[in-house]
Amino acid sequence: MHLHKFEKIWLIFGIAMLAVFLGIVGVQAFTQGQTPAGGLKKIDPEKVDVTAPFDNPGVHQLNDDTYEVVIKAMAYGYEPSEIEVPAGKEIIFKVTSKDVIHSFTIPNTKVNMMIVPGQINEKSYTFKEPGTYLILCNEYCGTGHHFMHTEIEVVEE
C-alpha cells in the first residue's frame, strides 16, 4: 500500500501527538489521582434511608483535613438541603439516588457526578474560595428536572 511522503509525516506527527495526549491524561489520572467521579460501592435503591452512610446524610468531619458529605438525591431535590463546608479542606462527596438517575453538579468546579440508583458515586474536591455555590441536576429526571437544585455554603476555616 502506497503512502505519500507527506502523508507519512502527517500520520507520524498525529500518532505522536496522540501518544503525548494520552500519556499526559494517563499519568495525571493514575499517578496523581485525577480520575473522574466514580467508585464501585453499591446499595439497595429501595433501602437508601436505612443503609449507612445514607441513614445519616450531611457533613461529617473525618479528621483535621477531611470532611465527608453524604447526599441523597431524589426527584426533585437533595437531602440534606443545607450543606456547609470549610474552604481549603478536602471534601469527599458521597451520593446516591432514591429513584431515577440524577446528577450532582457544582458549576465552575470539577464536581460533576452522575447519580445512578444502586450505585454510590464518590468525588474528592477542595474549595479554594469561600462562597455560596450552586448545585444543580444536569441529567433529565422528569418534568420538574429544572427545579432540582440546592446550594452549598463554603466558609472560611
Partner: protein, 571 residues
C-alpha cells in the same frame, strides 16, 4: 491479480460510474420515499428546535397538554435518528444500485419491507411520545419507565433498518459472487463497512430493549439493572454517531473529487480508513459514562484510549481531502502554496455545501477530543457544551452534507434540474445555516463551560449569581443561542422549499445536465491489497476489541449487581 471493478462481467450494464444515467425505477421510488420521510421528520424536528430556543428565553408558553421535555424528545428523535437514518438509506440504496447494478426482485422487496417496518416504528414511537406515555428523551435511561409499546416501537425501527441493511448486503454478496477476485467499487465497499458497523452496534441496544426494557415495562419482571442498561445503550450510542458520519465521509471521499474533476486520492487508504472506523467506533461507549460509578477507572481509561484511535482514520481522511483539493487546483494551473484555494469550484453549490460541512468538522472533532479526555470530561459532561458539540458534528458536518447531497440526489431521482433560482436559494440556505449554527453552537459551548445544563427547561435556580452569567455576554447568552436558532429555522424552512421545488416544480433535466447526475469519482483499485476486502479479518478484529473492552465491565455489572430498580414515571 487485482482488476478494477469496471472490468467485472456486470460492467457493461452500468457503463462507467462516471457517466450519467439514472437507476432503475423501483430503486428511485424507494429512495424518494426514504427522502420524503426524512424531510417530513426534518420539518417537525426543526420546528421543535425553534420552540425550545424560545422556551429557553421564556418567550413562549406551551399549552397544558405539551411540555418542554416532550418537544425536546421529538426534536432529538426526528432529527438525530429519523432524518439521518432515512436519508442515509436513500443515499446508500441509490448509490448501491448505481455502483453494482439494479436490485433483483428479492433485494427490492426486502428493502421495501424494511422501509415500512422502520417507518411504522418511527410513527408509533412519535405517537407514544406526543401522547405523554414516553417522556424519557431519546436516550430512555432507566429507571424512567415509558409504556412498553414505546420500546416495542423502537425495536421495530431498528429491525427495519436491519432488514434494509441485510438486503443491501445480499446485493453486494451477489455481486462479489458474480465478480470473483475483483475489488468491489469503493461506494459499495464503504456502504458495507457502514452497515456492518451499524448491525454490530445495534446488538447492544437490541439486547437492552428486548431482554431488559420490554419485560420490565410490561411488568413481567419487577426491576431493571440500571447500570447495565446504560452500558448497553452506549455500546450502541457512540457508533450511532459514526453511522451518521460515515455516509457523509462517503460523499467527501467519492463525490467531492468528482466535482473537482479528479480521482479518489488513494483507493487503499480510503478503504483502510473505513475499516479503522469499524474497529474504533464500537469498543468506546464508556467514554459517555466517565463520571458515573459502577465501572473501574482502568476500563474507562482503556476505552478512552480506544476512542482516541479514531484520530488516525480522521487524519487520513483530512489528508486525502486536502490532497484532492490541491491536486485539482494544480491541474487547473494554480501556483504557490495556497493558489489552489482560488481554483476550487466555489459557485457549485454541491461542492461549497460539502466544503463548509467539512470546515465545521474541524472544531467539532477538536471538541470531541476534549469530551473524551477522561478527567477533562467532568468540566463539560451534560452541559450545553455537549449540545454545542453535536450541533457542529451531526448538526452541520453530517446534516449539511446531506443537504448538499439533496441538491443533486433529488433531481437525479425525479429527473428534474436545479435551476438558477433554486441554486440561489440553496446558497442562501447553506450560508444562513452556517451563520445560525455558528451563533448557536458557540453560545452553547460557552454557556456549557459556565455550567449551564443540557436537556433542561429554562430555570433561574433561585437567581443564583452563577445563572446571571448565562445572560450577560455576547456569546455567554441564551439570547444569542435563540437568535442562532431562529436563523437555523429560517434556513430549515428554505430547505423544505428547495426540496419541494426539486421534487415537483423544477423543469425536466436535459441530456448532460450536471445536476441530474450522481457524481461518483473514479477510484483506482489496481494497487489495493486484497486483504482490505477480507471481511473475516476485519470483523474478527472488531469483535476481539469489543470483547477486550467490554467483557470485564459487563460481567462485573451482571455478577456484582445491586438490587434492581423499579420503574418511575416522573411526568
Amino acid at each position: 491479480m487485482i482488476l478494477h471493478s469496471e472490468r467485472g462481467p456486470l460492467a457493461g450494464r452500468r457503463t462507467s460510474s462516471a457517466v450519467a444515467g439514472t437507476v432503475a425505477s423501483s430503486e428511485r421510488k424507494l429512495a424518494l420515499w426514504n427522502i420524503g420521510f426524512a424531510y417530513t421528520a426534518f420539518l417537525i424536528g426543526t420546528f421543535c428546535g425553534l420552540i425550545q430556543v424560545f422556551m429557553r428565553n421564556e418567550m413562549i408558553q406551551l399549552p397544558a397538554w405539551l411540555d418542554y421535555y416532550q418537544v425536546l424528545t421529538v426534536h432529538g428523535v426526528t432529527l438525530a435518528l429519523v432524518y439521518t437514518t432515512f436519508f442515509i438509506y436513500a443515499f446508500l440504496i441509490t448509490g448501491m444500485s448505481k455502483a453494482l447494478g439494479s436490485f433483483g426482485p428479492k433485494v427490492a422487496r426486502w428493502s421495501w419491507i424494511g422501509f415500512f417496518v422502520a417507518a411504522a416504528g418511527t410513527v408509533w414511537a412519535t405517537i407514544e411520545i406526543l401522547s405523554g406515555r414516553a417522556s424519557v428523551l431519546y436516550t430512555f435511561y432507566a429507571p424512567l419507565k415509558a409504556s412498553g409499546w414505546f420500546y416495542v416501537s423502537l425495536a421495530l425501527l431498528i429491525i427495519g433498518t436491519w432488514i434494509i441493511s441485510f438486503a443491501l448486503i445480499a446485493h453486494y454478496v451477489k455481486w462479489r459472487k458474480a465478480n470473483p477476485g475483483v475489488m468491489s467499487p469503493l461506494f459499495a465497499f464503504m456502504t458495507i463497512s457502514t452497515l456492518a458497523m451499524w448491525i454490530i452496534a445495534c446488538l447492544g441496544v437490541v439486547a437492552a430493549v428486548v431482554f431488559m426494557f420490554i419485560p420490565w415495562a410490561f411488568g413481567w419482571v419487577d426491576t431493571i439493572n440500571v447500570e447495565l442498561s446504560r452500558t448497553l445503550f452506549w455500546f450502541f450510542g457512540h457508533p450511532l454517531v459514526y453511522f451518521w458520519l460515515l455516509p457523509a465521509y462517503m460523499a467527501w471521499y467519492l463525490v467531492v473529487p468528482k466535482l473537482l474533476g479528479t480521482k479518489v486520492f488513494s483507493d487503499s487508504l480510503a478503504r483502510l480508513s473505513f475499516l479503522l472506523f469499524i474497529l474504533f467506533s464500537i469498543p468506546v461507549g464508556l467514554h459517555h459514562q466517565l463520571t458515573e460509578p459502577g465501572v473501574a477507572d482502568f476500563w474507562k481509561f482503556l476505552q478512552v484510549t480506544l476512542t482516541f484511535m479514531v484520530v488516525i482514520p480522521t487524519l487520513m481522511t483530512a489528508f486525502s481531502l486536502f490532497a484532492t483539493f490541491e491536486i485539482s487546483g494544480r491541474q487547473k494551473g494554480a501556483k504557490g502554496w495556497f493558489g489552489w484555494v482560488g481554483k476550487l469550484p466555489w459557485n457549485d453549490i454541491r461542492f461549497t455545501s460539502l466544503f463548509i460541512a467539512m470546515v465545521f468538522f474541524i472544531p467539532g472533532g477538536a471538541g470531541g477530543i476534549i469530551n473524551t479526555s477522561f478527567q477533562l470530561n467532568e468540566l463539560v459532561h451534560n452541559t450545553l457544551w455537549v449540545v454545542g458539540h453535536f450541533h457542529i458534528t451531526v448538526g452541520t458536518p453530517v446534516a449539511m452534507t446531506f443537504m448538499g447531497i439533496s441538491f443533486w440526489l433529488i433531481p437525479y431521482l425525479t429527473g428534474r434540474t436545479l435551476t438558477k433560482t433554486t441554486k440561489k436559494l440553496a446558497f442562501i440556505q447553506i450560508i444562513s445555516w452556517s451563520v445560525g449554527m455558528l451563533l448557536m453552537s458557540t453560545a452553547q459551548h460557552v454557556l456549557g463551560l459556565l455550567g449551564a445544563p443540557r436537556r433542561t427547561q429554562h430555570s433561574n435556580y433561585s437567581d443564583h449569581p452563577t445563572v446571571l452569567g448565562w445572560f450577560d455576554g455576547f456569546f455567554s447568552n441564551t439570547a444569542t443561542l435563540a437568535i442562532g436558532g431562529i436563523i437555523l429555522f429560517f434556513s430549515a424552512m428554505l430547505l423544505i422549499v428547495i426540496v419541494f421545488r426539486l421534487w415537483l416544480i423544477e423543469p425536466r433535466s436535459e441530456e448532460g445536465d450536471l445536476y441530474a447526475e450522481f457524481p461518483i469519482a473514479e477510484s483506482d483499485a489496481s494497487a489495493t491489497p486484497r486483504w482490505l476486502e477480507n471481511w473475516w479479518i476485519w470483523l474478527g478484529i472488531a469483535v476481539a476489541l469489543i470483547l477486550l473492552a467490554y467483557t470485564f465491565p459487563i460481567t462485573h455489572m451482571i455478577q456484582d449487581a445491586p438490587p434492581g430498580s423499579k420503574g418511575f414515571i416522573n411526568w
